[in-house]
Subunit: 162 residues, 2 copies
């Protein structure tokens, strides 16, 4: 929905790092998809950016709760318990202009705080609250994995696992 | 440290929305500071962007733990308990090139996940874990406050409080 590519990259990387399986991106952005694929080739995991030119269809056909993150919605704490334990959840964030239709189509309109901030922050906090912060394990197929350090950087490289 | 202005705006708004008191910004960006001040005039609270051209001094003179957020650091869960209850904490995030000196100057180098993602996400999750998601109360001096809704948007406007 008319997005800044740097911010959308951060959004996709955040979704990936906190355990999302895929991101549907409307409108499609092939450059972004290939940048994110490159991250996956290095760091592993199955996350993909799926282009779509029909966000309504994605929202309407999704099997599971559709959670629109908006500062106008219900307090996060009130909705969180209804999401825990759900296997499939679709988080939706809009660009500058969110069609009002989205507020009706969503299962929940949820505010991660009622102040203006960032869709990157809202997605991060939501996924972290649902799944926790992932530990330093290598993702499937990773060529690189971080070895946590109190000071400095250590990255172990290896052949990709199947 | 050579930052994208849109991302830095999201970073500042996220820090503000999750309860930070101020953000030290190196290098200074007057346009960004005035954009964030404008948000504060509408939505209230005392958050400020403080320009600095000497990040080392900010880090060295801070009275409290300095927490450098980096995917190379120690797992978040291991450090979090040492931060709870501390009144003053300085979170540090770098741009593309973080000077290695920062890893030595920090009290803790902490990874909010060991995958590449976003400093916006890292700050959001850290502050949320330390303070929770703020509720829909009006901040001091706010002219606008959101009234949470299950569907749609409702904003109450009022004279600024002193």
């Amino acid at each position: 929905m008319g997005r800044d590519p740097r911010l959308t990259t951060h959004l996709a990387l955040t979704a990936r790092a906190f355990g999302a399986e895929r991101m549907f991106l409307h409108p499609p952005d092939p450059d972004l998809s290939s940048r994110i694929d490159a991250v996956g080739r290095g760091w592993g995991g199955g996350f993909r950016v799926v282009p779509t030119d029909d966000w309504r269809k994605v929202v309407r056909t999704f099997k599971g709760p559709v959670v629109h993150l908006t500062m106008y919605g219900l307090p996060f704490a009130r909705v969180l318990s209804r999401l825990r334990g759900r296997r499939r959840i679709l988080l939706v964030v809009g660009g500058a202009k969110v069609p009002s239709e989205l507020y009706r189509l969503a299962t929940f309109n949820v505010a991660v705080g009622h102040q203006p901030h960032s869709e990157v922050a809202a997605v991060a906090v939501t996924l972290e609250r649902l799944r926790g912060v992932p530990g330093p394990r290598a993702l499937r197929g990773a060529r690189r994995v971080i070895v946590p350090q109190a000071r400095g950087k250590r990255v172990r490289t290896r052949r990709a696992l199947r």
